[in-house]
Structure formats: structure tokens, C-alpha cells
């Protein structure tokens, strides 16, 4: 499952292929949509949650509030069912989906970070990220990514910075699960299911208190 972007997406994967999946785009209702989506996907596959042997969750980067819904849900499932919980970079899921769609490297992936910024990373190919994800203003990275296709809603949103914007716009849990299954089968370690915020919380140490006595 992934809730790091406006997409609330859930998929069930049996190690070979996606059995059922759900994707809804609603940036404000991650909390309401995720569990019913899990329930629908399991019902469609006629599988009970306790048959699941592992949980994979997108760790972002993403705007915080929605991101946490997926992470805490995954962690709680892991605890309740005693199954492992793995993290994957949400941008890696988008890159993998772009590869499934026929895009070959190199390219970049960008999602909407709000506040006129994007979360982004460069890829050698659909499975290989080069460098850590970052958060920047589109204009500040346009030159660096010039000539590259850029995948995702963060690219589509800023056509002047990313003239070669490509789909898919949103991450799909099916791609995330397929990538995880591939890596686990190859004996590779996945990430800890910890959030990639990339920004510090907005918090300011207050100045001295305001004097109330009129001058």
C-alpha cells in the first residue's frame, strides 16, 4: 500500500503477479479511504488478511499527514499478524511502473511536494535509482534534468520546468508490490518502514513573550 501522494493505493500480490488492486486519488481523505480499500482488495481476491505473509508500504517522500496513514496501518498489520513489514521508496514504485509501461532509462521521477516544490530522484533505468530522493523547486532542477523524460504528477504540474513530462502520474501499489516481490526473491534487503519526510517540521522557538502593558 502507498499513501505518500494524493493516491491511496492497495494491491495484493502473490509473488508472481498482482491478484487485485485499488487506486483512488483524493489528497484529503487517506484516512477514510485506506482500510475500506484493503477490505475491497481482499474481498475481490477472496483472501483473508491473515493469509498475507508480508506487508510492503511506500515510505515516501510525501506530504506528512497522508504518508503516516499508510505507514501506521502497515506497522499495525505487521504487529497484529506477526508478519514482516517492508518499506520501499514511493518514487521507486513510480519508476518501476514507468518501466512496465515501456519507458527506458535514463529518466527522472517527480511527485508533488506542495508549497511549489517537487520530490524527485534520477533513475538509470526502471529499477535503478541514482542518488537519494530530494525536495526542490522545479525551476532549480530544470537545467539538471533538461532533456530527460520526467515521470509523475510533479512533472505534469510544472510543464515549463519539465517539458518531457510522462505518465503514470500516480503510484500504483501493484507496481510497488511487484518491485518488492522481485527484490525479495533476489534476496535483496528492502527499507525499514520509516517515513521519508525530507523536511523539518515547521516549528519556531518563540521569541520572548509579548509585553502587554500599553506604552
Amino acid at each position: 500500500m502507498d499513501t505518500a501522494t494524493p493516491a491511496v493505493t492497495v494491491a495484493l500480490h502473490d509473488g508472481a503477479s498482482v491478484i487485485a488492486s485499488s487506486g483512488q486519488v483524493d489528497a484529503r481523505r487517506h484516512g477514510e479511504l485506506l482500510l475500506p480499500a484493503v477490505d475491497r482488495v481482499l474481498a475481490e481476491a477472496r483472501v483473508k488478511l491473515d493469509a498475507v505473509t508480508g506487508v510492503v508500504v511506500g515510505v515516501g517522500p510525501g506530504p506528512y499527514t497522508g504518508l503516516r496513514v499508510g505507514l501506521v496501518t502497515a506497522a499495525t498489520f505487521g504487529s497484529a499478524l506477526s508478519v514482516p513489514v517492508h518499506g520501499l521508496c514511493t518514487l521507486d514504485g513510480l519508476a518501476y511502473a514507468a518501466g512496465q509501461g515501456g519507458l527506458e532509462g535514463p529518466f527522472a521521477v517527480a511527485t508533488d511536494a506542495r508549497r511549489k516544490e517537487v520530490y524527485w530522484a534520477r533513475y538509470e533505468d526502471a529499477r535503478t535509482r541514482t542518488g537519494d530522493p530530494a525536495v526542490d523547486r522545479p525551476a532549480d532542477i530544470a537545467a539538471e534534468l533538461a532533456g530527460l523524460p520526467v515521470v509523475g504528477a510533479g512533472a505534469v504540474l510544472y510543464p515549463e520546468a519539465f517539458p518531457d513530462a510522462r505518465g503514470p502520474e500516480h503510484v500504483a501499489a501493484g507496481a510497488l508490490a511487484a518491485l518488492a516481490a522481485e527484490r525479495l526473491a533476489a534476496g535483496q534487503e528492502l527499507l525499514e518502514p520509516q517515513p521519508l519526510y525530507l523536511r523539518r517540521p515547521d516549528a519556531q522557538v518563540p521569541k520572548n513573550y509579548k509585553v502587554v502593558t500599553p506604552k
Binding site: 504487529s79 497484529a80 499478524l81 522557538v205 502587554v212
Partner: protein
């Protein structure tokens, strides 16, 4: 403790405490709390994003700690309760998401409950079943209200509330003016014990004959105390911190207890319950005891650890929901930062989408 009383786990994340409690009926079995208060201290108040991040980190470990402490197995639970509001939206969402996932994974009914009603219900763990009706004075950094509760699971009526600052906020602000740090409640309580509460006559807000009898106002008091301190400083005199703390505290608890006792008399209620973080204040407890005794009212105040935000209070209300067969919440349950006090819980929207139906596919017990 009867084995047939409901065994409920409660999750609380409305502010800066990640709380998970487990109760059986009115018996407390575990109360695990992880607090991020130290992280907020240097900001002089709770920073919502810092609180939310801390909840995510602490959530599952705190659930596991509570289960261990209670010595019960998750599969034996009769329900999962969670604070669905009011509170900080992002903070609430972490607890609500965890509770939904836990209830779903264990195939247990879910109860989204009201934080304020939980503050009242927690006293069942200390003093047994609540009398009906109960008069409750809730005072904390986020709320100051007088509530009449004929049935804590379904009928809670607001009689009055603060029209500006919450009582706890006033303590924090005065502590800041006096450079005493955050949070202000405990330190002012401590210093006030060594001061003279009658030394400075600070104003009692909204106590005039034409004022709303059950509403509170602490903003004017706060300004008045700050001006008094500033005048001393401007005159180059030393500020008598202990006397200021004692006189300020006296002004707050005088108004709180006076109005609460009056509400009991007016409504013919012979029990007063006081809850919320400020109920840990020793002078509030003492003065309330004195005035209740004089008025023939029985005072119920839980121990300080149960007055501040915790998971046990949520579990206590959840257990009452189970015991009284209230309709569970559904999987669409959302965090509602402004959930009205008149809604003690958030039942599922559609009876046909009740818990059992949603879980039709997994009806046979996951662990059977």
C-alpha cells in the same frame, strides 16, 4: 473483576501523548504512555507536526507494551476504542488509522470515541460506575467546560465552556511570563505552595451577576497578571514569584470550583467529577473538596496520572460502549478535530455496513 466484563484496548493520540490503555469493564489493566512533551518544551507549546511524527514512532511499541503490561492476548479483546476527536487533526489521524488497522486485523469491533467524554469516563476506573447523571468539570490545556452527562455513552450536555483561553493555557502563559518554562501547570502548582494566595487580588472572570453562570474566561486574568509583573519589573522591584503563582492559581481555581458547585446545585446533581490535566493541580483538588463538602456534593477526581491524556480513559469509555451495546464505528471512521462534545462516539453511518458485514469475508475467526 468479572471475566464477562468487556476487555477493551483504547488508543489516544489527540495531542502530545501516545496512550494505549487496556481495561476490563471498570478495572484498569494497563496504561502505557509515550510522551513527546520534552520535544515541545523549547517551542513553548505543542507543535502539531512534531507530535504527529512522535505518534507514528511510538504507536505500535506502545500497543505492544500495553498488552504485555495487561498480560492479555490481543485475540481476547472485545473491542478497540480510539479517540476520533476533538484534538489535533494530524495527531488524531495516526491513532485512528492504527485502531482501524488493529480492529480489522483482529476482526474486532471498533469504537471511535470522544476525547472529552473519555476524560469523564476514566473515573470509573478509580471510583466505580459513574452516577447518572454526572456533573463534570473538564479542565486542561485544550478545554475548560462544564458538562452534564445523564449517560456517558449517549447523552452529554454542555452547560458552559471557556469563551477565550483554556485554564491550562493560562497556566502555560503565566509560566512563560515568569520564565518558568513549559508546561506551566506543575511548576506553578509547586511554587504556589510556598506563596500567599491572598497577597494579590487578581480578577475573577465572568463572575458578575449578569455573566453567563457556567462560562469561563481566563484571558483578562492572564493580561492582568502579566501587567502586574511588568509593573514590578518596570519599577525595578523583584517579582514575588511564589505569591504571584499562588494568587494567580487561586483566581483560576476559585472560579472553576465556584461555577462547578453552582451548576451541581442548580441542576440538583449530588456528584461532581473533575477531569483533564488541570485536575492534577493540588489547589484545585483541595478547594473543590472543601466546597463540595460544604454543599453536600460528593467529589470524584481520578488520580493525577488518569487526569492527563491517556489510553486508559479511551478504553474505559470503549468498554462502556460495548457493555451498553452501542453501535460500532465503521472502517470509514475519520479523525474529526472538532468533534462536538454532544457526540460521545461515532457510530457507523449505515447499519447495513456494520462491522460484521464489512468483515463478511473473514467472518470465521481469524484465529479459530
Amino acid at each position: 473483576m468479572a471475566a464477562d466484563e468487556p476487555l477493551v484496548l483504547g488508543i489516544e493520540t489527540s495531542c502530545d501523548e501516545t496512550g494505549v490503555g487496556i481495561v476490563r469493564g471498570t478495572t484498569l489493566l494497563a496504561d502505557a504512555v509515550a510522551s513527546s512533551v520534552d520535544t515541545h518544551a523549547r517551542f513553548g507549546g505543542v507543535v502539531p507536526e512534531i507530535a504527529s511524527r512522535a505518534h507514528l514512532e511510538a504507536m505500535v511499541p506502545t500497543i505492544e507494551r500495553a498488552l504485555k503490561e495487561a498480560g492479555v492476548s490481543a485475540r481476547d479483546l472485545d473491542g478497540i476504542a480510539v479517540t476520533s476527536g476533538p484534538g489535533l487533526a494530524g495527531a488524531l489521524l495516526v491513532g485512528v488509522s492504527a485502531a482501524k488497522a488493529y480492529a480489522y486485523a483482529l476482526n474486532k469491533p471498533l469504537y471511535g470515541v470522544n476525547h472529552l467524554a473519555s476524560h469523564i469516563c476514566v473515573d470509573q476506573l478509580e471510583h466505580g460506575p459513574l452516577p447518572e447523571p454526572t456533573m463534570a468539570l473538564l479542565v486542561s490545556g485544550g478545554h475548560s467546560s462544564l458538562l452534564l452527562a445523564p449517560d456517558i455513552t449517549s447523552d452529554v450536555r454542555p452547560l458552559g465552556a471557556t469563551i477565550d483561553d483554556a485554564a491550562g493555557e493560562a497556566f502555560d502563559k503565566i509560566a512563560r511570563v515568569l520564565n518558568l518554562g513549559f508546561p506551566g501547570g506543575p511548576v506553578i502548582d509547586r511554587l504556589a505552595k510556598e506563596g500567599d494566595p491572598k497577597s494579590i487580588a487578581f480578577p475573577r472572570g465572568l463572575t458578575g451577576p449578569r455573566d453567563a453562570p457556567y462560562d469561563f474566561s481566563f484571558s483578562g486574568l492572564k493580561t492582568s497578571v502579566a501587567r502586574w509583573i511588568e509593573a514590578k519589573r518596570a519599577a525595578g522591584e523583584e517579582v514575588p514569584v511564589r505569591d504571584v503563582a499562588a494568587s494567580f492559581q487561586e483566581a483560576v481555581v476559585d472560579v472553576l470550583t465556584r461555577k462547578a458547585v453552582r451548576a451541581c446545585k442548580d441542576e440538583g446533581v449530588d456528584h461532581l467529577m473533575i477531569g483533564g490535566g488541570v485536575a492534577a493541580n493540588s489547589r484545585l483538588r483541595a478547594l473543590a473538596q472543601e466546597r463540595c463538602e460544604r454543599a453536600g456534593i460528593r467529589l470524584r477526581v481520578p488520580r493525577p496520572g488518569l487526569c492527563t491524556d491517556n489510553g486508559a480513559m479511551v478504553a474505559a469509555l470503549g468498554a462502556e460502549m460495548v457493555a451498553r451495546n452501542r453501535r460500532p464505528s465503521d472502517l470509514e471512521l475519520s479523525a474529526d478535530s472538532s468533534l462536538p462534545v454532544t457526540e460521545p462516539h461515532v457510530p457507523g453511518a449505515h447499519p447495513e455496513h456494520s462491522h460484521d458485514h464489512v468483515h463478511e469475508i473473514s467472518k470465521d475467526n481469524l484465529y479459530s
